[in-house]
Subunit: 696 residues, 2 copies
Amino acid sequence: MTDPGAWTIPMTSLSRLVIPSIAAAAALAAMPARADEGMWTYDNFPAATVQQQLNAQITPQWLDRVRLATLRLSNCTASFISGEGLILTNHHCAASCLAQISTAERDRLRDGFLADTRAAEVRCPTQYADVLMKMEDITAKVNAATAGLGDREANEARKKTLTQLEQACERAAGQRDPRRCESVTLYQGGQYFLYQYKRYDDVRIAFAPEAAIAAFGGDPDNFQFPRWCLDMAILRAYENGKPAVTPDHLKINWAGAVANEAVFVSGHPGSTDRLLTVAQLEAQRAELPLWLQRASELRGRYIQFGKTGAEAARIVADPLSSLENGIKVRRKQLDALLEPALLEQKRAAEADLRRRAAFPAEQDPWAAIEKAAQRETELSVPYGFIEGGAGFNSVLFRYARILVRAAAERGKPSEERLREYVDTALPALQRQLTAAVPVYPEREKLTFSFGAERMREFLGPDHALVRTLLAEFSPDSLAAGLIDGSKLADPAVRQQLWDGGQAAVDASEDPMIRIAKLVDEPARALRRQMEDEVEAVVDAAQEKIARARFAAFGTRIYPDATFTLRLNYGSVQGWNEAGTDVPPFTRLARLFERATDSEPFRLPESWSSKRALLDPETYFNLITNSDIVGGNSGSPLINAQGEIVGLMFDGNIHSISGSYWFDAAKNRAVAVHPAIMHTALTRIYDARELGRELGL
Amino acid sequence: MTDPGAWTIPMTSLSRLVIPSIAAAAALAAMPARADEGMWTYDNFPAATVQQQLNAQITPQWLDRVRLATLRLSNCTASFISGEGLILTNHHCAASCLAQISTAERDRLRDGFLADTRAAEVRCPTQYADVLMKMEDITAKVNAATAGLGDREANEARKKTLTQLEQACERAAGQRDPRRCESVTLYQGGQYFLYQYKRYDDVRIAFAPEAAIAAFGGDPDNFQFPRWCLDMAILRAYENGKPAVTPDHLKINWAGAVANEAVFVSGHPGSTDRLLTVAQLEAQRAELPLWLQRASELRGRYIQFGKTGAEAARIVADPLSSLENGIKVRRKQLDALLEPALLEQKRAAEADLRRRAAFPAEQDPWAAIEKAAQRETELSVPYGFIEGGAGFNSVLFRYARILVRAAAERGKPSEERLREYVDTALPALQRQLTAAVPVYPEREKLTFSFGAERMREFLGPDHALVRTLLAEFSPDSLAAGLIDGSKLADPAVRQQLWDGGQAAVDASEDPMIRIAKLVDEPARALRRQMEDEVEAVVDAAQEKIARARFAAFGTRIYPDATFTLRLNYGSVQGWNEAGTDVPPFTRLARLFERATDSEPFRLPESWSSKRALLDPETYFNLITNSDIVGGNSGSPLINAQGEIVGLMFDGNIHSISGSYWFDAAKNRAVAVHPAIMHTALTRIYDARELGRELGL
């Protein structure tokens, strides 16, 4: 088993017991950002500060070129590195693709992949790549739509307005040069933007090393430094069946960055909670242990299942890595929230802004959020199991849920649908639904049975829905009946049900469809409650806090991460760990010294056999004080000249507290050095075609 | 798989990452106990209060008789119910015995057990039963030994003195009527006692029902009420191969208790932390999630392993139940510590006592404990894995550890040994070591591999000991080599190594012995640090706080639970759950209505086939407001006349917060009603011999 998991946004099969939109919700910081801290939007990049602090000149042209060369993948970042659509990202960002195109006979996740020619490049079934083309401020339009309304009505009106604006934007772009238009909430409702993306939905894999070198050290080394991971993969974007023409791309500087050099990271940090209110942080502190318990049990089930055979190990490798990454992240997040200094700082900042804002007691937004957070805690367990789907944890249930919901929602006007089923969302949803990806019945049974068993534990055996499902069956027998009886693993069956709409869904006797229908009403009821009693209240209160914050600090502050494009600045820097200086670079020699005979420290033959031929002084990984988090995986590390001098793939252990604050002394980002990528492509894998294209 | 786990002290194979003695350490309460609250020692039972509140007269004779009829098992309570050594306890207290005497062909844990005659009663390999004969206050002697010493020296002197007093006590009792003498620390060092026990170490199983009715509802129903569990088992104490003569026994009143009746529980509450300082509670709040993660992963591994076959399911059934019980307890303990009202009350009580005591700042015991708690947090992870043995999680390692340590310790004078190897501890230790119990290699590999993998994760792959163990091996291959290579599963081999002492251990090439030797030095170093830097400081500070508390409140307060004999008073009471009254009794009819076709709600054939023959109105379980916790499992529920009117086996979900405080409105204890025991013995199992002895 390999553990390539690192800094993707943890999108594990286990949904977290809070709505992401609420978990990410946050009040704005009391204090402007310190040096090197900040995930800046491209329209508000502090170029003057950078000039002053780092003596680097970032021009509007530099910003445009880097923006157009930066790509958003489904849960990572990437960049164009050639004029013919070649894309650089992390191995762990391509891990799902590699797992999807693997079979029992050919394990491309474990063994790696190299297309000798372009014709040999293999399409990733669900991967896409988005380029941010344009940003439009729509704050005034959204505020106009919600002015004077109560919280619930404002929440509805806000969503409807965002849907309408997205639709109008996509219509305006037309079919010839289509755009994907997404609204973005920044500063927790202080600003609303419409982002226009060009989407490449034919993305193919060209190169990936073996998981054993990409994620050398596996889960034990994850979020550690010093480090030796070749966490790289090369993809290519296609348009109309041909390599995409991509004049806006970044050149790799194979010499890489030097110590103290000014560097920039362009990418998509997934989510930070730096500006949550104290009440929200305390609620998270109480919820994280529950998530960790469920995730840890699933980890144990995966690991034990994986020991039953090679094929079993293969089919759990990818979800297990994601899960272990998520566990490490949340474990350290919990540690951060248990650190007294953090909550003290948050309390002080909150008290300061409350004093400045001086809301009358009955309009105090912090009090409103505190009450809503209590309500969220009450709702979160049933919500997570029933609406979040954790009680029916399986790929097939997720297909069934989409089919059942889409059939119902498509019968309504777009603006009145659940947001994930509006017209502009349907193409991507349909593609995800009908993509030909393998479904493993044994893994499905494992996750479904686990989910049902824990739902019974947490909701109790006498809960109406639990009793309906489990009066006759054990979790195992329920899972077996549903998964063996369902035909939804066949993409053609899913396509038919999608095309057939409500009538087809109503007529379906597929047991998983029937379960999804059975669950739908209680699930929607919980969602209604969560949206009306929590989300609406929190969103309204956060808008108020955001306005107070702008009044105090303007936009000298940066918004929390929202998996949208950001740019930050920093430099190549080590740190001091308990009295010992950790230098910012690692070199090849120590990789070989650290290797052992067993996973995850066993080197692949391709490396161990070539030890004598390689320069032991070759740079391997490096660290910077860049302010990045999950979602930045695969981001290019860029020098002042706009060249790639590293490939971000992780942070050190202190970086995980970056969810809540930026610890400038210890928070470090970890990158693959270009020198080891060069060595790998030329000396280890002999990737001649790619080498030619990259000028090697 | 069955889940009979309930209220045993959670002694799972996963050791908690704090030293029990420190976890249980606590400052004394600021306030005298409220009505119905309290785990009173027999020498300080508030009979006058009981007379006044409950109109029940508890005489010294009553106290003596009940005390002499109450038994301490290895992790539970029990009572004598006949003059010929018959013992009543819970099924889940006999579960380990039932598992130990089961084989792949005869699963006595699942299928139950009934000895038709006394000759058919089967000895439990490791069970014993202790009766508390005498209590002696040795506070003055201990205080004299430590007077004027620094914390570390006092800690050493205290242990040495306790060892000497225990030894002198056992010597004085002599061989003819031997006593087991154990020192007891009450009120966190406010009092020291010497307790003298008569030990029965030949305990045999006479009757146990099927696990499916003993633990009907399994883990989902554990700590719930209403409830339908026949959680009973009948054992018998033997002396010199014959049933013990036990004139001090309790009569079962088959009609049971009625609503509001005054009732008493005599038993051995294992551990409470009601009087910890705020700093200690906060440290626990930070440590519990780590325990829960590790336990949850092990739960997942056990469950998945159990699905590989019937025998696999059987061999993990007993440890899985204990583990699931432990998870539920700690999950609710964490919830309690995250409840703001609890810490607020603790802060207020602490502030009050600090004011009364008025220690000078440099002698403030609360500050000393806070600093020690921080140090404990730093040490607890390596301590837990290396000295606690969590990194080598297996029965065979525990045998090896005992053999290696005992060999070294037995070479020293008794008072200078580690406390668990002093002369008075050796007989029980030797018996535990050499008992003929099954060792399951596949289960051993599972737990060992899990422990080694997590040790690598938490200590890091570059930790010296981790690197020594895992440079050449994976956790799985290390586990396989050690467990397949070790001969320690054979009791005769263990006996030889015990008898052979240091020379035999030094000569042994058993790989598990060699690992235990390898680990011993770093393990002892951690223990030294924990004892000197944490335990010594905390114990000294707690003695100070205890004296301040006595000065304020005398002994109108009760000591925290220490798995020593206590008596409490209360009454048969329901409670109000979120606006709904929960009545205090359940009846048989609902058991059948609630049964389903699948575990853990499937009834055994013995019950389902006799439904028509039974009175549906028969009382099944009942609840009282008795203040009990884990360790009280198997305790007799006694009326004012000294008759058994119930058999304690669990608490409701609110009872778990009883670790930290007593919530009189909601905390309820759950018992088996005598009426259903009567029905079971006479109508279901036809236990004629036992029935005759019990006067049925």
